[in-house]
Subunit: 490 residues, 2 copies
């Protein structure tokens, strides 16, 4: 793309000014329509060191109300960020509906930089490219406008700029080691950048190469392309996109009604096993921490199936400094305004930590599907999106354990009635629980489909038969222990 | 994609039947909605020899009214087809709005076959992949649903099928050499197929791998995926898609109002030059024919600018068996029902022939733009689509010459008035010409933009100053001669 790319020539000063004025006004007017249409816009500014990404971003945002944008700068990774999956620092920064986020260099810079400095093998690099393509596709599929700019300058121009910045004590600090390294290895960088642009150039999130030799001209190119992109995105509403075929290996799972629920354990046996399993888990947690393995345990199940008590038996055995439980309710407005996986990306554990989710991202294909909170295309697409999300986590090294806590309809009724009769348990039962119960059959179909389609080998579902809650608790502990031991052996 | 692809298991017979019945009805119902929504659907059936693409197509079309589909089979190329650009036999077969075309193997089969048999170098193969990606993207960008199926069977299964077909004299003919070749080189084919699927798997036209071990199960997979795809496509109307940045080298062109129009030639000089130029062209045409170079000459220009007379001076010098003039009026219904470039793909010359277009595909960015016959997104996208189209032709080896026949507004008025006064010329002037004249300024802007954006090095625009028609004719002849001589030298 860079090699055969044609520099568009800078227009004359007068035309340049006129076009700049026109497009600035256009952008100013667009932000209100973006808000109305709830269009989120992610602008990625990439390119050569000293090409002027930062100052261009500074110019562009002058035409936007400060409430409507954020600028995210790619700083050196914090210790915290180093302990998160590669995409985490980007996914967590995506804009809200109706707003802009400008990324002053982002995932391209990170990944090509590592590649250039020999810190990613070819195989690792290709995995990153896969992750990036999926990330960008998930954004555009979910209604994001993703505008990707690459600021291009020649080797000579870069050299000139570095020299001129270095001459002045006030600007010297703006040249970093990497700029100088790039200039010394311009040809090699060109190869890698060019290939990266090619490999990540998709019709729904294409690259725009900016001739960055003149600042004003660069600004005009960015503004004109950006406003054009926004204009087009505003024309589309509630886009439906093709469903992709599953490419992840699946584990064959039974249907819920094929699962016998008569498993039981007696009180004495339970107590003895519980204690020994919890001791074992406690020990494993310490070793996991030292080995820096992240663990994600996800709970889904029927109302009153016993999720809370089950989680409790796990957490009792964990060091409180090393785990967190995330109860997931309906999304808050700032969460609803973003990709539905955003609120889970922001809740991922650090390496060595355990995150337990009490209800999860699977809400998309259960409650959101059945209550019509998202479109049919949205929830049908979600199986694949979720498999991709969990693949990202598994590739990062996370142990993923997903529990479906299963009871039958009669057991639920008994427990509901018990809750209503018992004053200290009444808070646990609401009108909504009764309404959900009426839709049991539809939920069962949805759960069956979910379990079939998202039980991947790297993140399988486990059924916890919870008519006898004690049995379910021991089973959960055993599965967690088994998976953690396997991870420690790797 | 094939290597890490998970065969979905065949459901039990009873479920299979129920789902088949349901999905057949669904397809039957969808065809009427497709017609209403004017949705064209292209179904590409690719895969291993003997995998059952043909018989599956036969099953699928049983659920469609015969007026609503065509099946295109990839036969051996005719002599005519061999003398057309690679994409021609596919582009010419695309469906009309509201209808299906099933391609029983298509461009994948052709390209991977040539690659496997060493008839395409790596570079040529990659050019083909580029062409294919552009072709498929142009279709989906223009509202086509493109469904791509790959019928997959194992080496063992293929061997078994070949043996069983060969045993019976009635089925023996269905095994071709290529099937046997594939089975002998199954591993190598797998590599090439896998890479092809990967390289052409785009979110807007993704691949679906069909487990083709059982015919009924294969049919069900195709039908369910197809009806799902149609359902999704029916939800989107008048999609606007991102505009792509130009990647083709451009020639710098003047604006129309910068072009002096005072060039003249006197009668005597004209006659002498005309004769000698035409003689020269006549000779070149013969040599071109022998060298099998295809030539495309495109005329655009103001009404009454003198296109007709100019074309006449070219054709007078050509062997009538070796050229064709295509006058382009507004599209007929069957043309309007397809991608706007379709009616030009169907009119391409064979190698060694010359096609002259009196008005062209540039109607998209002139009259269709200004009269609102297409959306803003459509005509803005068209510059790139046309550059891609002409790139395809240039890569095929065609000489592309594009003339803009230029006059000023006063000259047009004189000629209009002259036409109205002269009885034998009155047919040449209509109400519409007067109406267009009123929009001169808007047309001029559109023409300027068109010439700037589509004057590529491989298909540049030439301005013919035609206030003196004789001057313009000589200039056209000289340019044609110059370009043809250059092509003969290559």
């Amino acid at each position: 793309m860079l090699k055969n790319w044609m520099m568009e020539e800078k227009p004359e000063e007068k035309e340049l000014k006129a076009r700049l004025n026109a497009v600035r006004e256009k952008l100013w007017a667009q932000q209100m329509r973006m808000k109305e249409h709830k269009l989120p816009v992610l602008v990625l500014m990439e390119g050569w060191g000293t090409a002027g990404k930062g100052s261009c971003t500074g110019q562009v945002i002058r035409n936007i109300d400060p409430r409507f944008f954020k600028v995210a700068t790619l700083e050196k990774k914090t210790e915290e960020e180093k302990r998160k999956p590669f995409l985490s620092r980007y996914f967590t920064q995506i804009p809200e509906a109706g707003k802009f986020v400008f990324m002053d260099s982002g995932w391209m810079d990170e990944v090509t930089g590592l590649r250039l400095h020999g810190k990613l093998s070819k195989g690792e690099y290709e995995m990153r490219l896969d992750s990036i393509r999926r990330f960008e596709r998930q954004l555009t599929d979910n209604g994001y406008l993703v505008m990707k700019f690459f600021f291009h300058i020649s080797e000579k121009e870069q050299k000139k700029r570095i020299a001129s910045l270095l001459k002045d004590i006030d600007t010297e600090w703006r040249v970093n080691n990497n700029d100088q390294w790039q200039n010394k290895h311009y040809g090699k960088c060109m190869e890698v950048f060019d290939e990266y642009l090619e490999m990540t150039n998709s019709p729904s999130a294409p690259w725009y190469v900016v001739n960055a030799k003149s600042r004003k001209w660069a600004e005009l190119q960015v503004l004109e392309t950006l406003t054009e992109g926004i204009e087009i995105a505003l024309q589309n509403k509630a886009l439906a996109v093709p469903l992709l075929q599953n490419v992840f290996p699946l584990v064959k799972m039974p249907k819920l009604d094929e699962i016998p629920l008569d498993e039981k354990v007696d009180e004495k046996e339970y107590k003895a096993q519980l204690e020994s399993l919890q001791d074992h888990l406690r020990d494993l947690h310490n070793r996991l921490y030292r080995k820096q393995v992240p663990v994600i345990i996800a709970y889904e199940g029927w109302d009153a199936a016993g999720k809370g008590g089950n989680i409790k038996r796990i957490t009792e055995a964990l060091d409180p400094r090393g785990f967190e439980v995330h109860p997931i309710a309906s999304p808050e407005p700032h969460e609803k305004a973003r990709h539905y996986l955003w609120r889970f990306w922001t809740r991922l554990p650090k390496t060595g930590h355990i995150a337990i989710f009490d209800r999860t991202w699977y809400g998309r294909v259960m409650v959101e599907r059945l209550e019509g909170f998202c479109s049919e295309n949205d929830w049908k697409r979600a199986y694949h999106e979720i498999n991709e999300f969990e693949k990202e986590l598994a590739d990062w090294g996370a142990v993923m354990i997903k529990f479906w806590v299963q009871i039958d309809k009669d057991t639920q009724l008994e427990r509901f009635e018990m809750r209503q009769k018992t004053p200290e348990k009444q808070w646990k039962i609401t009108e909504e629980d009764w309404r959900n119960r009426e839709k049991w059959d539809a939920y069962e179909d949805a759960v069956n489909e979910m379990i079939q389609k998202t039980s991947t080998v790297y993140a399988p579902w486990y059924i916890l038969e919870s008519v006898d809650k004690k049995y379910a608790r021991l089973k959960a502990l055993k599965i967690v222990i088994e998976r953690l031991e396997a991870a420690l052996k790797e």
